[in-house]
């Protein structure tokens, strides 16, 4: 189980809570997590990554276990504590004024 924390704009858009749990043994990378997240919550398509290139939007960050995973390859293996569900994968709107 993967536990994801969404920023306010996105959990409101998805009409869910700020934390979403995804089930699946193959959820070991950010790409796999986002694929399932967007399948279950299609309104999130385009808000975290581009719908055509699948590149992360510039002001979106992925944090887990005290690390910034934003610049890791999308297929890189997530930290084990995230894969096991003991730690969150946090999807964050980057700090910026406005």
């Amino acid at each position: 189980m993967i536990r994801i924390v969404l920023p306010t704009h996105l959990w409101r858009l998805a009409k869910t809570d700020h934390e979403i749990a995804l089930e699946g043994e193959d959820l070991t990378s950010i790409r796999a997590v986002l694929d399932q997240l967007e399948m279950l919550y299609p309104m999130l398509r385009g808000t975290i990554r581009d719908q055509v290139t699948y590149e992360r939007r510039p002001y979106v960050r992925f944090f887990a276990s005290g690390e910034d995973l934003s610049h890791e390859p999308l297929d890189a293996r997530l930290p084990e504590e995230v894969i096991s569900g003991t730690a969150h994968l946090r999807i964050v709107g980057a700090m910026a004024g406005g």
Binding site: P7, H9, L13, R45, G46, V52, Y59, G93, A94, A96
Partner: protein, 371 residues
């Protein structure tokens, strides 16, 4: 209910203001989509309960919502805007060619003839159409063939911000694009031509009468006279009497002819409204006095409308999509400011009152006259 529903897009959400035909007592709902920039929210002329809202965020991109109950509830619809074919390039700030990149939807224009059809004007400038109520979007790519390689972004981005439909001919559309100009199609979007003959941009362009590149801020039309167009250009208020084939200046006695929105009275096709702004470098009203100017002669002769508007220390701006009119009698005129006020005049501009004072900066104002 005989009344009005005012749809306000702001930097931090949408607000819906409703009143009866007197337009004195208002109910306010919102913020809808709190925290999102609402560039435009507009209703279908065929089904007033069908609304569309463009919400955008520098962080999370573009989202489109649709309501079928006048804004009480909203449904998420399609947000995939993909340019047709190889997007190509346009002029960039530094003179180089830059790839077309979708950023946001500036303007939503529901069809006059089909409830499920809606047009979207986007940045980087292009026109999209949906025929399924916003679920999917297809570009009308011929527009960018109208010398798109020469278009370049203005300070606000390279945005298609105005879409007008000819009520007598569903195949005729007008669009306006910042720092590109105005364009018309007579065949439903299969081909487009710049309609800029007569525009002069002495300070903005190396060739002041170039076919493309003029910074058109807004265009308005009276539905009974679709051949007559009124334009607020960066500088200059302009008029065309031949579907945009040629333009002539009607700035007349305005204190400054810089500004953003322009609107036409619902029942008097020769009565038009602008809000003069000091200059391109000072985006606030001259002398700190918020004045709408009205011409009842189709231009050139203008009168200041000040009753109920602040006449000292007012330094707000009124953006291009933030002024509109209802179709009641007397005609109501509305505008919103970057200071968060939305003003209404229920007497064609003779007097004004603030409906709300303290919203986030207002990006757009539309009004629906309800049966």
């Amino acid at each position: 209910m005989n009344g009005v529903r005012v749809l306000v897009g702001t930097r931090k959400g949408a607000f819906i203001l409703t009143s009866d035909a007197q337009r004195k007592k208002w109910d306010i709902s919102g913020p809808h989509f709190p925290g999102w920039e609402i560039y435009h929210i507009k209703g279908s002329p065929l089904n007033p309960d069908r609304l569309y809202a463009s919400q955008t965020s520098s962080w999370f991109g573009q989202v489109i919502h649709r309501s079928d109950d006048g804004g009480k509830t909203w449904e998420n619809v399609g947000n995939k805007f993909t340019y047709e074919g190889v997007p190509g390039t346009h002029q960039f700030y530094d003179g180089t060619q830059h790839p077309w990149e979708f950023t946001r939807v500036w303007y939503l224009e529901p069809s006059l003839t089909d409830t499920e059809t809606i047009y979207a004007g986007v940045e980087d400038a292009a026109l999209f159409r949906s025929s399924d109520g916003g679920q999917t979007w297809q570009e009308l790519p011929a527009l960018r063939a109208a010398k798109g390689e020469l278009w370049q972004p203005g300070a606000g981005g390279m945005c298609l911000h105005t879409i007008l439909q000819d009520p007598n001919d569903s195949k005729r559309l007008y669009v306006a694009i910042s720092a590109a100009g105005a364009f018309r199609t007579d065949d439903g979007g299969q081909s487009w031509k710049p309609i800029t003959n007569g525009l002069v941009s002495n300070f903005e362009l190396p060739d002041p009468t170039a076919e493309v590149g003029h910074c058109v801020h807004n265009i308005a039309m009276h539905p009974a006279r679709p051949d007559v167009l009124f334009m607020q250009k960066h500088w200059d208020v302009m008029r065309s009497d031949n579907f945009g084939e040629s333009w002539h200046e009607i700035s007349g006695n305005l204190p400054t002819d810089f500004g953003f929105p322009i609107a036409v009275h619902a029942h008097e096709p020769e009565t038009i409204y602008v809000v003069p702004i000091t200059s391109d470098s000072e985006h606030f009203p001259p002398e700190g006095k918020l004045r709408v100017y009205r011409s009842r002669t189709g231009g050139n002769e203008w009168e200041a409308l000040t009753k109920g508007l602040p006449q000292s220390n007012c330094y707000v701006n009124i953006l291009r999509s933030a002024m509109t009119v209802d179709t009641l009698d007397p005609c109501g005129v509305y505008f919103g400011t970057t200071g968060g006020q939305v003003y209404v005049s229920a007497d064609s501009g003779d007097s004004w009152a603030a409906i709300v004072h303290d919203l986030p900066a207002v990006l757009s104002v539309e009004v629906q006259t309800l049966p």
